[in-house]
């Protein structure tokens, strides 16, 4: 199979790498320490067109697809996971609107998200509904008088929830029907009854704010319903597949970044009169890290390919997410180990990457959930 990039994609990769090195990396430590969302970075991404990388040009995007998105996310995550993840998760909103929105919805919301510097968010998870979306309690009740839906409920662990101005929110329009009664809405932060709750204090990925959303009689015009009524569950699952490929790209970028640092450090660090990369123990670590990273990347590209060619690609997405996230954790762990005491210090990026990498095994479905999805296709 040919995974080689086109000339334009090579150029995009070069741009993304340069942008990550010059704009994102210098901020990486600071945003991790201060737990702030990289507003500045996001604005710069928007200026360049990254925030609409996989959206058609007619809606202000750059006209790329899943591969272009993966290239950017991967390159960003080599230098700053928070920034790369922010882009990856932001893109879920325009992607979902593009796929399911009406012409009017697309024309209104997509340009803001792709080039207007407006952050998007995707809100499915609730305290009682993690991967099991059937547990969603948020309700949407139609008010005929105003032609609006009235949303009530609480969403949690919403990436960008405290900053996003345009959100795709899932709520039960027919609670009795379970997942078959779920619908999606485009909600603007400015809508009455919308607010965000507390911002979580996480272990890592501190530059990406995770917040609770509070919907109290939040009035959403009926024309803002995304897709057909009661068809939200399928949309959510489709979006999750895409998000999982995004996490795989984040994880691959993180592993590649850690490997680069380890190779560099091992060539500079001198012990017993020679660089430590002359020690076989270190060489074997590096070989192992390189092999795993390449394998992860191949699996990630396999999922990207599936996403671009197949209608559903849950298995490919889950396998990529499972393996890439595990690889990221292992490779960062070894890179930190090679750095010895320096790796454990906050001044070196590895301890941050170590904390950041862990999240890839958890969000958008834990590794266990990915195994569940994969095994279901084997055990019928």
């Amino acid at each position: 199979m040919d995974f080689s990039l086109t000339k334009e994609q090579e150029m995009l990769k070069k741009l993304a790498a340069q942008f990550a090195e010059e704009e994102l990396e210098p901020m990486a430590q600071e945003i991790d320490e201060q737990h702030v969302f990289p507003v500045e970075n996001f604005a710069k991404m928007a200026k360049q067109g990254f925030t609409g990388v996989n959206i058609p040009e007619e809606y202000g995007g750059a006209g790329g697809g899943q591969l272009e998105k993966a290239i950017c996310v991967e390159e960003f995550c080599k230098k700053c996971m928070s920034s790369g993840a922010t882009l990856s998760i932001h893109l879920m909103a325009p992607e979902t609107i593009l796929k399911h929105g009406t012409k009017e919805q697309k024309e209104k919301y997509l340009p803001q998200l792709t080039k207007g510097g407006v952050l998007g968010a995707f809100a499915l998870t609730e305290p009682s509904a993690g991967t099991d979306a059937a547990g969603v309690r948020t309700t949407a009740v139609y008010d005929e008088a105003t032609d609006e839906y009235i949303l009530n409920g609480t969403k949690c662990f919403i990436t960008g929830g405290s900053r996003a101005d345009i959100l795709v929110i899932f709520a039960m329009t027919e609670p009795k029907l379970g997942t078959k009664g779920m619908s999606a809405f485009i909600v603007e932060r400015a809508f009455e009854g919308f607010d965000h709750g507390k911002i979580e204090n996480k272990m890592g990925l501190n530059g990406s704010e995770t917040a609770e959303l509070v919907l109290e009689d939040c009035r959403v015009p009926a024309k803002n319903m995304l897709g057909k009524k009661n068809k939200g569950f399928g949309m959510a699952m489709g979006a999750l597949d895409s998000a999982r490929v995004g996490v795989a790209a984040q994880a691959v970028g993180c592993a590649e970044g850690a490997l680069e640092l380890a190779v560099q450090y091992a060539s500079e660090r001198v012990q017993f009169g020679k660089p430590i990369n002359r020690l076989q123990g270190i060489q074997w670590y590096l070989a192992e890290m390189k092999t795993k990273t390449e394998a992860a990347k191949a699996l990630m590209l396999n999922a990207v390919y599936a996403a671009e060619t197949k209608k559903r690609y849950s298995i490919e997405a889950s396998m990529a997410k499972l393996f890439c996230s595990q690889t990221a954790r292992e490779v960062v762990n070894l890179a930190l180990q090679i750095h010895g005491g320096y790796g454990y210090m906050h001044d070196y990026p590895l301890e941050r990457m170590y904390r950041d990498a862990k999240l890839t095994e958890i969000y958008e479905g834990t590794s266990e959930v990915q195994k569940l999805v994969i095994s279901r296709s084997l055990v019928k």
Partner: protein, 369 residues
């Protein structure tokens, strides 16, 4: 008779374009005249001629003779008072076409590097930029190669009668040196890097004996197509670490007298002719210096021409941030400090005692150069 740069036998003498700004000769003039003297001596029958352009500058001419010029041609016109490419190129080209020198040297200053290529293109001859070494005589040249190259000089066959000007210059950031010749055309021209050639002792008797020739250039409408509106001297420039040529950094070693240590670092940058003070992480974390002084910060690498580390032990992080410097000098009390592993010159001693001596020695060396 029309000028033809390919009739090389018609050309003789070594010329130096002497730059004057605001009624004063420049240091490069003396360096180039001194070097030109050497070349004229290597070329039988050649005179060394200074070419001085400007307005009301004739009085400066004899001084050039004191450094070795046999003759100075003065082109003194109001149009030449302030430098413009058009006026200077016209004056020089007309004079060269008339008198046919074999070699013309220019200082590789902002003006020289603007002017020389324009003249070379008009004269249809070759030009070599930013030279750091010049020879005519092959014995001199091979002697130079023995010192300055890894070539097997004595195992190579040379044409010892070659009388082309051999112009040597660094290429690719000094990783490679190239000697260039211009065998088929004259004059052979080169710009010469300022500060490299040695200035001779000034000789008053020789200055007094210098022949001065006035040369007149007529400017016509349309000869000069640029107008200088204003010339502004820069106020002291704030340079950041990344762009600095000279960096003197301090580390934990200044702890016993922080202000004194920083002051010494500043004075040392001044002794080198100006630069920036840097600091290791501890100096920034401890608030002795602001963050923009930190060397070895993630993602920031400095590469000055000279890096001086005062009282810095040399953590991996620090070294990664500065080891690309062209030349590293380290002063530290601890002879086992890792900084010495990458330093070109190390001095084991107390920075508070050593630095004042360095300031003195370097200031004097530069003044007497």
């Amino acid at each position: 008779m029309a000028f033809d740069s390919s009739k090389i036998e018609e050309f003789k003498d070594i010329w130096v374009f002497c730059e004057e700004r605001n009624g004063e000769l420049m240091r490069t003039d003396f360096e180039l005249i001194s070097e030109g003297r050497k070349l004229a001596d290597e070329r039988e029958g050649a005179q060394l001629v200074g070419l001085l352009l400007g307005h009301n500058v004739e009085g400066l001419a004899k001084e050039l003779g004191g450094y070795g010029a046999d003759k100075v041609i003065v082109i003194d016109e109001p149009e030449l008072e302030v430098y413009t490419t058009d006026a200077y190129a016209k004056a020089i080209v007309d004079c060269i076409e008339d008198k046919k020198p074999e070699v013309v040297l220019y200082g590789a200053t902002n003006y020289g590097r603007d002017l020389a290529p324009r003249c070379a293109a008009r004269l249809e001859t070759g030009l070599t930029a930013d030279c750091t070494h010049l020879d005519i005589d092959m014995n001199e040249y091979t002697d130079f190669l023995r010192k300055a190259s890894t070539l097997d000089v004595d195992g190579t066959k040379w044409d010892m009668d070659d009388v082309n000007l051999k112009m040597t210059r660094p290429a690719f950031g000094g990783h490679l040196m190239a000697t260039i010749i211009c065998p088929r055309f004259r004059p052979c021209m080169s710009t010469v890097r300022p500060g490299v050639m040695q200035k001779r002792e000034f000789d008053q008797a020789k200055a007094d004996a210098t022949e001065v020739e006035r040369y007149h250039i007529e400017f016509k409408e349309g000869d000069i197509n640029t107008q200088v509106q204003d010339v502004v001297k820069a106020t002291k420039k704030i340079v950041d670490l990344i762009g600095a040529d000279i960096i003197v950094s301090v580390g934990r070693g200044i702890a016993k007298d922080i202000d004194g240590g920083i002051k010494l670092a500043e004075q040392l940058t001044e002794a080198f002719g100006g630069g920036v003070v840097g600091g290791s992480r501890v100096t920034v974390d401890s608030g002795w210096l602001s963050k923009d002084h930190q060397v070895g910060q993630t993602g920031k690498t400095v590469h000055p021409k000279i890096y001086v580390a005062l009282g810095i032990s040399g953590s991996i992080q620090h070294k990664a941030g500065m080891q690309e410097s062209d030349l590293i000098i380290a002063v530290n009390k601890d002879e086992n400090a890792p900084i010495f592993e990458i330093a070109d010159y190390g001095i084991c001693g107390d920075l508070f005692k050593v630095t004042p001596m360095l300031i003195k020695a370097i200031s004097e060396a530069r003044a007497n150069k």
